[in-house]
């Protein structure tokens, strides 16, 4: 008997779409040339990479030369922050970001703090929203760079990045503050037009939108001062050295085009399933709470705290029943700290530890939602039966274990 599997961790990664893989295949063993080669298969590779760049640029609403292919969202975030900060350090050493950014941004900001930059980490409200007035107040005449994510990977909250960017540029005492957004989680559901967003830099990660792992995009607005962080050959317009991953570049473009074409239909589908899931959990299992914003959230994200039980224990049970989800962010699964994002929304460590993230995708079905809703209550019940916290609550309202 085949084990039933229901994949609901699309925020962690997605399968490469078969048509994307098909687009990539010729560039492994057939048109395998180095794009720097002047001969046939080199030029085939060059042409494929150029076309991919044009595709990506048309979806971002920018020029092909403003698209840099990287090895992932993490590299894009690192390159954007360090590349801009080091380029502008004579102008000022102040950076603004938020407390709910991905570690690729947060840890890079911490690195920059060690080498002489000052970073303001804006706090968020209970829904994970950055406050525009906080942002405006944080700007000083030393501010050179702001990085606020387009949508959060854990709780799904969508930040009004275009408003932030507009306001930041209007409020800048001096000429120009660069605005970067980590759009990694937004690619398959949000508009990525860089002019509408008003950003100077934007990061994407291909494996989050059915492209290959190990591929990312950094949009870098023309004229943006930038010091390349990976030096060597002249690839990517001298902004990112290294032999081009042609198959990966082709796959990234194919996946992004697919994402753009299916954006509305896929968002609608995901949101319908997601809402069924949330409503089902909140009504069928007591003491469950939705994390993040009730409406301004990624259509595919459901992050829920199951009071009195630890997230991983639920996850393991779900996996035994064939359901894949995550607790906190996959990236921090190596550590055991409660999610910094959930803590930033003000919930207790206990509630943060009790959280689960379901992120649905285009291939999920109503039946799968029903299946999850059918197994989840039993799991939670069984775990609560062994929780010292439930016993304590029964004794005296939960304040004394």
């Amino acid at each position: 008997m085949e084990r039933k599997t229901v994949y609901m961790d699309h925020a962690a990664t997605t399968p490469v779409h078969p048509s994307v893989l098909e687009a990539m295949l010729p560039y492994f063993s057939r048109s395998y040339g180095n794009p720097s080669g002047i001969y046939g298969i080199g030029q085939e590779a060059r042409k494929a990479a150029d076309e991919a760049r044009a595709t990506v640029s048309s979806i971002l609403g920018c020029r092909p030369s403003e698209v840099i292919f990287t090895s992932g969202g993490t590299e894009s975030d690192n390159a954007a922050l360090k590349g801009a900060a080091f380029a502008l350090k004579e102008e000022g050493n102040h950076i603004i970001t938020s407390t709910i950014e991905h570690h690729a941004v947060l840890n890079t900001c911490q690195y920059l703090e060690k080498v002489g930059f000052e970073v303001t980490y804006l706090s968020v409200d209970q829904f994970g929203m950055v406050n525009i007035e906080d942002l405006e107040k944080a700007i000083t005449d030393k501010t050179v760079l702001i990085s606020i994510m387009l949508a959060n990977n854990e709780i799904g909250t969508i930040e009004p990045v275009s408003e932030f960017a507009k306001s930041a540029k209007a409020n800048a005492e001096h000429s120009r503050i660069l605005f970067h957004t980590d759009a990694v989680q937004g690619a398959s559901v949000l508009d990525l037009d860089v002019d509408k967003l008003g950003v100077d830099m934007l990061s994407l990660s291909a494996h989050k939108f059915h492209g290959p792992k190990g591929m990312g995009v950094l949009y870098l607005r023309e004229g943006t001062r930038f010091i390349p962080q990976q030096t060597g050959g002249a690839q990517e317009g001298n902004r990112r050295a290294g032999t081009e991953n042609v198959a990966g570049i082709v796959g990234t473009a194919a996946a992004l085009r697919l994402a753009a074409e299916n954006r509305e239909a896929s968002s609608r589908h995901c949101q319908r399933l997601r809402d069924r899931l949330i409503e089902g959990i909140l009504t069928r299992i007591e003491d469950t709470y939705l994390n993040g914003h009730p409406t301004l959230r990624l259509p595919n994200n459901a992050n829920i705290s199951f009071r009195y039980v630890e997230g991983e224990a639920i996850l393991l049970n779900l996996d035994l029943q064939g359901v894949s989800a995550s607790s906190g962010s996959a990236c921090t699964a190596g550590t055991e700290e409660p999610s910094h994002v959930l803590l930033a929304t003000g919930i207790s460590p206990e509630m943060a530890h009790s959280s689960l993230r379901f992120s649905v995708g285009p291939a999920n079905t109503d039946d799968e939602i029903e299946y999850v809703l059918s197994v989840l209550p039993g799991i939670v019940e069984r775990l609560r039966a062994m929780s010292p916290l439930v016993a304590a609550r029964e004794r005296n309202g939960g304040n004394d274990v």
Partner: protein, 153 residues
């Protein structure tokens, strides 16, 4: 990630529950790891008679709790003290590296129960016994109303 034995103990934990008239109760917890283990013992003839646990925690926390109850049942106090966190992990066929420090605390909870029985700990105290207190990091303890509302259609 987890060995089959860990998953087996996780799926079918032994000796879950509490002992209302326990001779010793040990509680250990850490808000960093998000694990909390409470162990109840009944002592008879200087040996551990009945033993139960309650655990809020990840797979490793539940499996180690279950495993230690099996390991010490019927043992003398001294023998029980000899069972370390490492021994529990070993008996389970190993734990993932990330789980060795945080979620491998069952032996500590067990020792606290022994302390409690022997009168070394804050015995029968009604104060919470948590080491590195839960909820010490700021934050509202109770979820807000919005969190209970399903999304608008």
């Amino acid at each position: 990630m987890y060995s089959d034995l860990v998953l087996e103990h996780f799926s079918n934990p032994r000796n879950v529950g509490s002992i209302p008239d326990a001779d010793g109760v040990g509680l250990i917890g850490s808000s960093i790891c998000g694990d909390m283990i409470k162990i109840f013992i009944k002592v008879k003839d200087n040996r551990i008679g009945d033993i139960r646990f309650q655990t809020f925690g990840c797979g490793a926390a539940i499996a180690t709790s279950s495993m230690i109850t099996e390991m010490v049942k019927g043992k003398t106090m001294e023998e029980a003290r000899g069972v370390t966190n490492e021994a529990v992990a070993e008996a389970l066929g190993g734990l993932p590296p990330g789980k060795m420090h945080c979620s491998n605390l069952a032996a500590d909870a067990m020792n606290k129960a022994l302390d409690d029985y022997e009168g070394k700990g804050p015995r029968k105290s009604r104060k919470p016994l948590i080491d590195k207190g839960f909820g010490v990091r700021g934050g509202r303890e109770m979820p807000s109303e919005e969190m209970k509302r399903p999304p608008e259609r």
